[in-house]
């Protein structure tokens, strides 16, 4: 029975029909995109899976942008070109550069200067999210990007839940079989493909690291990120990442 299962998996892989095939077998190195963070890569089994949609989720100040920039930086170090669909135009190029992102290899698609911070929460960002989803579809169709990241971190959870369930499925299909890693950043889990991973981050009052005793001598030193990797079959366990300024 086990032999038959292996043969069946091999047959599906040979015909490139393994897009939804879930297996505990480690993926070949060329199908993985390391994040550049040893601890995270260990939990991911080597890196994010190429041709699949993964996600980085967590609340505010949980380290989502830091992990995303690490992923982008690792990709640009490998010589790949990357795309960031910045739904609410919140990417800081100075921080990105400090995190190691080669900005000349980054296609930065800035959302319209939305009124997200001045309009009532109900109407906030719906149009911006729609535009970002469309833009990510165009980038995925263009191909040859190492990472295509969609930053929905500031989007209200209600607005994300209103999206049709096929939205992220379409994105996953657009990159299926390609060398592209799709990454969605958001406040809550949205959708990933079969071999995609969810990097779930958690924030707490004590995640920030400071040095110095008094407020005038105190300096912000970094974040201690509480993370967990979720995938279809592999149970995730919590681990810590240290973001140091």
């Amino acid at each position: 029975m086990k032999v038959n299962l292996i043969e069946l998996e091999s047959l599906l892989r040979s015909r490139k029909l393994d897009g939804t095939l879930v297996s505990k077998r480690p993926l070949p190195v060329e199908r993985l995109a390391p994040t550049g963070l040893t601890r995270l890569d260990d939990e991911l089994g080597g890196g994010l899976t190429r041709g699949h949609l993964s996600e980085i989720v967590g609340p505010s100040s949980s380290g989502r942008a830091s992990v995303l920039c690490a992923v982008l930086a690792a990709a640009t170090r490998r010589g790949e070109v990357v795309a960031l669909i910045d739904t609410f135009d919140s990417f800081d190029p100075v921080s990105g550069h400090a995190a190691g992102v080669d900005l000349s290899r980054l296609l930065w698609i800035r959302g319209r200067q939305s009124s997200a911070r001045t309009t009532p929460p109900g109407a906030r960002g719906v149009q911006a999210i729609d535009d970002a989803i469309k833009a990510s579809g165009l980038v995925c169709q263009a191909g040859q990007f190492g990472i295509v990241a969609i930053d929905l971190a500031e989007a209200p959870v209600m607005a994300i839940r209103r999206l049709p369930f096929t939205t992220f499925r379409r994105l996953a299909l657009a990159i299926e079989g390609s060398e592209t890693v799709g990454v969605v950043v958001g406040p809550t889990t949205m959708g990933r493909s079969a071999l995609g991973r969810s990097v779930v981050l958690r924030a707490s009052e004590h995640s920030a690291r400071w040095s110095g005793a008094g407020p005038r001598s105190r300096v912000f030193r970094g974040l201690e990120i509480d993370a967990r990797v979720e995938s279809t079959r592999v149970p995730g366990q919590r681990f810590r990442l240290h973001a140091v300024q």
């Binding site: 190691g100 000349s104 200067q113 911070r117 263009a142 995640s207 973001a243």
Partner: protein, 462 residues
């Protein structure tokens, strides 16, 4: 004779053409023998082509430019001078031929001249000398005529050193002309070629979908023309003649040379989608600014990147969706002003240098600021000089919370030397920055603007 027609005739038969006045043209027909046969056959072909265009011409083919030029002035019809016979064939021409030639070069006569290079060494001397006969040389003609010299042959036979003693360098130059020798090689003129296609429509076109077919009809031949010349489109100008007799013009600049009609059509349509014409279209004209075509050598060792054509199309589509200046690569600016950057066109490179970020090289995670592009106005309660409570309006998540930990203030200012300190300016800044951890778990950067005495939230560490 029409100068343009003469030039067109010349360019149709040789890529190396040199103009002498408005009615005298030199062509380099060297190497055309395999195509059109003997020199005489080439000459006959040229005369036939000129007759078809209703041009009355004299044709001379010689091993040197000067012999060919003199032959057109001294003889009618077709003259073919074999290499080495130049001096002998022009020796019978009277000295007045030189004046005729000078007149033809300065004004214009009905003359067409061909030259055939005798040997490659002929064209290596005196390249800087003027193309036409020098006035100083022509001024020596009356002197020579007073000596009893009447033909070019008699002038050519005079002893050169004696001629130099009496007339100087001009005399030697005059004798070289009389022998039919060249003082400089043929310098072909670069043809200014226009890459333009126009189509006039029988019925006005309204809407982009029918316009796509029309664009295909003008862009296909345009790209073929460009391809034949080994160039591509660097900038494309589209001119639409509208039924209202107005003209709708758009210019598209591409980050890389493009020569694919389908890509060009898509880019033009996407641009017109953003900037549609105000009325129906009567005529479509496309003009291309040519740039050298791209030659790519792909490598198995380098990672593939999107092609320039694909990136151009993608950026055009994204621009339609997100707006102008919303897509590209960010570039840092050499300033301490917070949040300043530049947007540059996204041009992927196949292989680049490693990133200079030190943190990424050591695989250390760096906290990143999520910046509010327009700082959010905040209300901050301050006690003993420290922020105690932060809240914003209902816009940004209705954020409010007690400050758990804070660090600051970090004072930063700049460009204050350009304005008076009493008034705020977009170019100058003066602020006290704080890093604050709020009770909701968020970590923010807030600042107090010293000009307006107001608090703002700049971003969130995430």
């Amino acid at each position: 004779m029409q100068h343009g027609a003469l030039m067109a005739l010349a360019h149709d038969h040789s890529p190396r053409v040199e103009m002498h006045g408005t009615g005298l043209v030199l062509l380099d027909v060297d190497g055309l023998g395999q195509l059109w046969g003997s020199p005489r056959q080439i000459g006959e072909r040229l005369r036939h082509a000129a007759a078809e265009r209703q041009l009355g011409v004299r044709v001379a083919i010689a091993g040197t430019k000067m012999a060919a030029l003199l032959a057109t002035q001294g003889r009618c019809g077709l003259t073919v001078i074999n290499p080495g016979d130049e001096a002998e064939r022009v020796s019978t021409f009277p000295l007045s031929v030189l004046k005729q030639l000078s007149h033809a070069q300065s004004s214009g006569t009905t003359t067409l001249v061909r030259t055939r290079r005798q040997t490659r060494s002929v064209k290596t001397v005196h390249a800087a000398e003027p193309a036409s006969l020098a006035v100083s040389v022509l001024m020596l003609l009356p002197v020579v005529q007073r000596w009893g010299i009447k033909t070019l042959g008699a002038l050519a036979e005079l002893p050169t050193d004696e001629l130099f003693t009496r007339l100087g360098q001009g005399g030697v130059e005059l004798q070289r002309i009389a022998r039919g020798q060249d003082s400089r090689p043929l310098v072909p003129e670069a043809e200014e070629e226009r890459f333009e296609q126009t189509i006039a429509l029988e019925w006005p076109v309204e809407g982009l979908e029918p316009l796509a077919f029309v664009l295909g009809r003008v862009l296909d031949p345009l790209c073929q023309h460009l391809d034949a010349r080994g160039v591509a489109v660097g900038m494309l100008h589209v001119r639409l003649a509208l039924v209202t007799r107005e003209t709708h013009e758009r210019s598209l600049r591409f980050p890389a040379a493009v020569n694919d009609p389908k890509v060009l059509r898509a880019l033009v349509l996407l641009d017109l989608e953003s900037h549609p014409p105000s009325a129906g279209i009567d005529a479509v004209t496309v003009m291309a600014d040519p740039v050298p075509a791209r030659t790519l050598q792909f490598s198995l060792l380098e990672r593939a990147v999107p092609s320039a054509e694909r990136v151009s199309t993608l950026l055009a589509r994204l621009t339609v969706l997100m707006g102008e200046q919303r897509c590209g690569s960010p570039d840092l600016v050499d300033t301490h002003e917070p949040g300043v950057f530049e947007m540059r066109p996204f041009v992927p490179r196949s292989q680049g240098v490693r990133s200079v970020g030190t943190a990424a090289d050591t695989e250390v995670l760096v906290p990143v600021l999520r910046r509010f592009r327009t700082p959010v106005s905040a209300r901050v309660t301050v006690e003993h000089g420290q922020p105690l409570r932060v809240s914003t309006g209902r816009g940004y998540l209705g954020l409010q919370g007690h400050v758990v930990t804070c660090a600051g203030p970090w004072r930063t200012s700049g460009q204050w030397w350009g304005v008076s300190q009493s008034s705020s300016s977009a170019a100058s800044w003066d602020r006290d920055e704080w890093d604050v951890a709020l009770s909701d778990g968020g970590l923010y950067r807030i600042f107090r603007d010293q000009y307006s005495k107001r608090w703002f939230m700049e971003g969130m560490v995430d």
